[in-house]
Amino acid sequence: MISLQLKPEQQQIVESAEAFLTKGSPMNLVRATANTSVEMDTHLWSEIANLGWCGVHLPEEVGGLNLDWVSLCLLQEQMGRRLACVPFFDSAVLSATAFKALLPNPHAIHWLEKIVQEKAIAAMSLSGEHAVATAAEKGWQISGNWPAVGSAQLAHVVLLPARTLSGETLLFALPAQSPGLKITSLNTLDKTRSVANIQALGVNLQTEQCLALGPEADAILERITYLGAIGLAAEQVGVAQQCLDMALSYVLQRQQFGKAIASFQAIKHRCALMLVEVESARSAVYGAAFLADTQPDLSVLMLSASQARVTATEASQFCARENLQLHGGVGFTWEYDPHFYLRRSQASSQRLGPVHEWLERVAALIETSDLSHP
């Protein structure tokens, strides 16, 4: 049996990340990124890389800090609170974790060292269903599409799955500048995160650039989907928390009928319900992040990832909507901040599969589980 209370060193991570991002990613800088066509806050990214955050969960051999998944999730939570406009989730949480799963492959080592030590950015697609790989003279040739890949426009390296004609999965790592690879940035409603389509037209790759194939590639993609879901859920908890805090601060200061509207029960109950959602989601995420560190088998990890993802998605959506509503008329203006959180929350809710897909995974498992008494 376990306790899910944070250890002192984990609490310290929360506090230092909170302090750093409050200063490093204030809303005026988030707006500066969101209101222009730039894809990220370059200065913030550079500072984050200097702090070593991109290697928090990576082994010391590649320059990482070798901490646990919980620590990474605690950073993610703070990133969410401040809508940090950086490719941390795509590069550190998804791609670097995939490379880590491929160690000691020399390409994986090469890219991990670049990510940790040289501020390289990686992006990853988790599905190869629209891409075909065919055997070529010196390796492989790939053609196809990977729609809506997070941070692809910023990436130095992309991890892309593709399928052979017989349906086998292959996982490739290739420089974003590879000839024949076309990355097209997309205009998005969530202005705080960069998304792009990737297209390959007969891109030639060497045999070694295929890092995993067949069942191994499938298993890695599945595991990264679950770990990524937990990491994204942590970020969503941060979004939800900040929405609650913003709403509270507004209703305490807004006066109507001669007093702060926070004193009205209709307002109190809505804030209390946000609290229930936020704290439940945080518990689900900590539980899942903790379990992720124990290297469980995929079906166990799936349950925890689903739990974190469903709970945190709904918490963040609920809190983002309530925050806007509790701001009243000004919540509908560009000038006030709630809409940025509403946009981020909506975009995140559809990444890595929406709630009903995660629920279906769980349903399929419990439908056939044997629950008869021993």
């Binding site: 049996m1 306790s3 307002i267 539980g287 349950l303 419990i366 629950l371």
Partner: protein, 387 residues
């Protein structure tokens, strides 16, 4: 956070399982998997003998300090006990009002004589307690208590007149703790007293309340010159409110750990019904069943994060609201899963259990502080919103 269950915890788990398989047998067989009063096979006299059996095995007072005969187990070990207990078919517990509510309050507010008088009977399963809080005019607004207590100048006894309501299991209990007004003319939180009163006396009349399940777990308790000795008071006369509030913290805190293991049983039963009657083929019901499973996991994670000493107030105040709403929703889901069969009374055990769950769970969001009161408390205490 530790990585896996320690060897010590595993041994502890094994010892519970071994004890249960060698003791929940023979005369106790009818209690296996019975949730509590009202469940088939669950008779109060037998359930009391079972409590005494548990006590002999050292399975009562798990959270109590050793000086009072308890085992001072960690929260996680208590949770292991509850999990294994339910897994092994352990029935609902009859003594929890005494063991998890009154006892910690006695330890905090009682003198040595009172502790010596009452704790052993609670620990060994021979004395059962009821809770005399709510009144017809004092429900959510508990400070509206009207029951009166006056001191007999001759004997020093406290003499009680008034009425309590929604008193669980009073008809199976020996004693009741009562909040009453001991200072005439006082109002609200002032002038209250926390009394320990014997139920078996002429001045006390019980009137069972027939509930929507058809059973009578609750009672009205009428006090008409009921007496208790001057020593049977917790805290100072006039200061009863703070004692009453201390006890409520116990009610909403760690004492709910044991419930979660029972919830798992109820959820498993629901899933089994859905597995056999085809409900899993319905795309909407499968989503709701999945959601219910995930919800219980989150309740458990939340308890593991917030039941310790260092939990932030913001986090710890929500568990009553969260579990009661979860359970009420699986009651509703159970009836959707049963479909038209849900309206038919049969002797199919799982079907009856699910129908019962639906009805019983309607009370969860009302007692021990209704949803609305819980939201008020979260807003005003955890979020510090103005009154």
């Amino acid at each position: 956070m530790n990585s896996t269950e320690s060897l010590e915890d595993q041994k502890f788990r094994d010892s519970i399982r071994e004890w249960m398989t060698t003791h929940l047998i023979e005369e106790f067989e009818p209690l296996r998997h019975a949730n509590g009063l009202g469940s088939p096979g669950y008779l109060a006299a037998l359930a009391k003998r079972w409590e005494q059996e548990l006590a002999k095995g050292g399975w009562t007072g798990l959270s109590w300090p050793t000086e009072h005969g308890g085992r001072a187990l960690s929260l996680s070990q208590q949770m292991i006990f509850h999990e294994e207990y339910v897994q092994c078919g352990g029935p609902g517990r009859l003594g929890h009002i005494g063991e998890t509510l009154l006892a910690p309050t006695l330890m905090a507010y009682g003198n040595e004589d009172l502790k010596n008088q009452f704790l052993p009977g609670i620990l060994n399963g021979t004395t059962y307690w009821a809770q005399g809080y709510s009144e017809p005019g004092a429900g959510s607004d508990l400070a509206g208590v009207q029951t009166r207590a006056r001191q007999d100048p001759q004997t020093g006894d406290w003499v009680i007149d008034g009425q309590k309501v929604w008193t669980s299991w009073a008809h199976e209990s020996d004693w009741i703790f009562v909040i009453a007004r001991c200072e005439p003319g006082s109002s609200r939180h002032k002038g209250l007293i926390f009394l320990l009163v014997p139920l078996h006396q002429a001045g006390v009349t019980l009137q069972p309340i027939r509930q929507i399940t058809g059973e009578s777990e609750f009672n009205e308790v009428f006090f008409d010159g009921a007496r208790t000795p001057s020593t049977c008071v917790l805290g100072e006369p006039g200061q009863g409110w703070s004692v009453a509030m201390y006890l409520l913290q116990c009610e909403r805190g760690a004492s709910t750990l044991g419930q979660q293991a029972h919830f798992q049983n109820e959820l498993n039963c629901l899933i089994q019904v859905a597995q056999t009657n085809g409900a899993f083929k319905n795309p909407l019901l499968r989503q709701r069943l999945a959601r219910a499973s995930l919800g219980l996991r989150t309740l458990r994670d939340h308890a593991l994060r917030t039941c310790g000493d260092n939990a932030p107030l913001r986090a710890s105040s929500i568990s009553k609201y969260a579990w009661s709403n979860w359970r009420r929703s699986i009651g509703e889901l159970a009836m959707e899963v049963l479909g038209q069969e849900g309206n038919i009374e049969t002797d199919i055990a799982k079907q009856t259990a699910m129908q019962r769950l639906w009805l019983v769970s309607r009370a969860d969001t009302i007692y021990a502080g209704s949803n609305e009161i819980q939201l008020n408390m979260m807003a005003e205490r955890a979020l510090q919103m103005p009154k």
